[in-house]
């Protein structure tokens, strides 16, 4: 156990600290103790850790344990000279880049100097060493080592950051996949619901009609009344199912916004709604409707429900009259749908866009309580907002704010006549 504790402090010293408050290692290699001491004395002013070696072998031993900012290597040593030592140092990939300053005592020939540079010397110092020159040169390498370490740390941080980001991306992709699966399942589920759940309801209303047609005359008013109640209940459940499905689809429909012309959309909705209406509503569409930046299906759902409400919630005997217009609002288009209906008390305005909220006297009228929730969700999904201005007996003015068509699009896509 005690052996494993030894490498700990060594490990800590190995790296070159980036922080100037921490010391770095400087290796002095010289066979003459006097010179070692003299150089150590000069460099001690730098406040760094100085490690000394008496020969090449000792130097290599230190290199196994520490990283050095710079190595000062005496050329003229017995057995293994400075050049040999340098060449051995350079063989280790870890020290390929460690700066080596050769210290040479005699008049070095140019050839010798070239040999030194080939072995990776970065500089030469000549004996006797001038203390200022030694200090200045070593200081440069101490700083260089720190800078290198800073860059290395940053690169490591960046790599770690990238790795983390990659991992996060994977997690997000996985979640996306899961979500897609869930959506597909939900899609299949709602498809099944819309077919299978509504089929029996259709049968109920179908048989009620058969009974009324074939056996109606044999029933008294009460009997026929019960059949009509049965029919209403089945139709109401059908409407609820349909609206819940619409809400579900509005909530998860993939939304990409595009230019939408309101007039053709409104006309299609109105012509569909008016089928079988005993008291057709008077609907006035302003001639200068602005295009909006929206989603066709979501807009269709919103407007259909708003127009349906406007025609539905009207005092008995009164002809519904609806005005539809737009007004520009600084990057937005406000669409108004104003009716002459029963109106909504101000105290309910905050509630009506919620799910299953049916307020005031609405129990007298048909409605699932989902319509305005669909409007709210659909508008929200297009990045817009909606609201109402109304008072009991004074009609309702519903508004929907949607982004106006971006300028670039306006020039690209010519407005349809």
């Amino acid at each position: 156990m005690h052996e494993t504790t030894i490498p700990e402090p060594v490990k800590a010293e190995k790296r070159i600290p980036a922080n100037p408050k921490e010391v770095v290692n400087i290796l002095l290699v010289d066979d003459q103790p006097g010179k070692l001491l003299a150089h150590e004395a000069i460099l001690s002013e730098l406040g760094q850790r100085i490690i000394k070696a008496r020969n090449g072998v000792e130097a290599l031993g230190h290199l196994l344990r520490y990283d050095f900012a710079v190595i000062l290597l005496d050329v003229n040593m017995p057995n293994m000279d400075g050049f040999e030592t340098a060449s051995l140092i350079r063989q280790r990939p870890r020290f390929e880049k460690t700066p080596i300053i050769f210290i040479t005592g005699y008049n070095t020939t140019d050839l010798d100097r070239l040999k030194g540079y080939e072995l990776g010397a970065v500089d030469y110092l000549f004996l006797p060493v001038v203390p200022q020159v030694l200090k200045a040169k070593v200081t440069v390498f101490v700083e260089l080592a720190r800078q290198t370490q800073i860059i290395k740390t940053q690169a490591e941080d960046l790599a770690a950051h990238n790795r983390r980001q990659g991992e996060q991306l994977e997690v997000i992709q996985k979640l996306n996949e899961d979500l897609k699966d869930a959506n597909t399942e939900l899609e299949a589920f709602s498809y099944t619901v819309s077919h299978d759940l509504r089929a029996p309801l259709r049968s109920i209303t179908g048989y009620v009609n058969v009974l009324l047609e074939d056996y109606g005359p044999q029933l008294d008013d009460a009997g026929r009344g019960h059949l009509l109640a049965l029919d209403r209940a089945a139709k109401r459940m059908d409407a609820l199912t349909r609206d819940l499905l619409a809400y579900g689809r509005v909530a998860r429909e993939a939304v990409t916004l595009d230019r939408v012309s309101l007039r053709p959309l409104l006309e299609a909705i109105i012509s569909l709604n008016s089928v079988g209406n005993k008291h057709p509503a008077k609907i006035h569409i302003a001639p200068d409707l602005q295009d909006v930046w929206g989603h066709h299906f979501l807009l269709e759902q919103s407007l259909n429900n708003l127009i349906d409400n406007a025609t539905k919630f009207v005092s008995p005997g009164k002809t519904p009259e609806i005005h539809i217009r737009t007004e520009p609002r600084d990057g937005w288009v406000r669409l108004w749908i104003e009716d002459n209906g029963i109106g909504i008390d101000a105290s309910y305005h905050h509630k009506i866009f919620g799910m299953f909220e049916r307020v005031g006297d609405l129990h007298k009228y048909d409605g699932t309580g989902i319509g305005l929730a669909i409007v709210h969700r659909a508008v929200q999904r297009m990045g817009g907002a909606c609201g109402v201005e109304s008072a009991t007996g004074l009609g309702s003015r519903f508004w929907v704010d949607l982004p106006s068509v971006p300028n670039a699009q306006e020039t690209k896509t010519p407005a349809k006549p």
């Binding site: 819309s194 077919h195 509504r198 259709r202 049968s203 179908g206 048989y207 058969v210």
Partner: protein, 144 residues
């Protein structure tokens, strides 16, 4: 207006006996004379058209003038029936009216892309059926 003497031969592909009942009733009320054959799933529909299996007797199971096809069927659904009809060159392809319980626009587009003539939400009214059958019989009179 040409009077239609021959009854129109209808093949109804529908698995719900309730819906078969309502369909038959609407046909009876539409004011045109029609003969109806009913099969309960997609496999039988293809067998009928190709005179295969229990529909081998052509005289007993004459080729229909028009086919009403429910989309949601056991085994082989309505879309697959349309696909198979397209794949089999030898398969007689009467005009197909798709019947569905919900008006999913995607369903409608898909059925039309597969060659369906019309798309009706269930239950079809006698008036709707009268219009469709009149058109088919008028077209076939022209062909004769």
């Amino acid at each position: 207006m040409t009077a239609v003497e021959q009854p129109i031969r209808i093949l109804l592909v529908e698995d719900s006996s309730d819906d078969v009942f309502f369909f038959r009733r609407a046909i009876q009320k539409c004011g045109l004379s029609a003969v109806m054959s009913v099969v309960m799933d997609g496999v039988e529909a293809i067998d009928y058209l190709l005179h295969q299996g229990k529909f081998g007797d052509q005289a007993a199971h004459p080729p229909p003038d028009i086919m009403f096809l429910d989309l949601k069927l056991p085994h082989v659904n309505g879309f697959e029936v349309l696909e198979r009809m397209k794949q089999h060159a030898e398969c007689p392809s009467p005009p197909v009216v798709v019947l569905t319980s919900s008006s999913h626009p995607e369903d409608q587009e898909r059925a039309e892309a597969l060659g369906a003539l019309l798309f009706l939400t269930k239950p079809p009214t006698p008036e709707q059926l009268r219009q469709v059958l009149q058109k088919v019989s008028f077209d076939s009179t022209l062909n004769l």
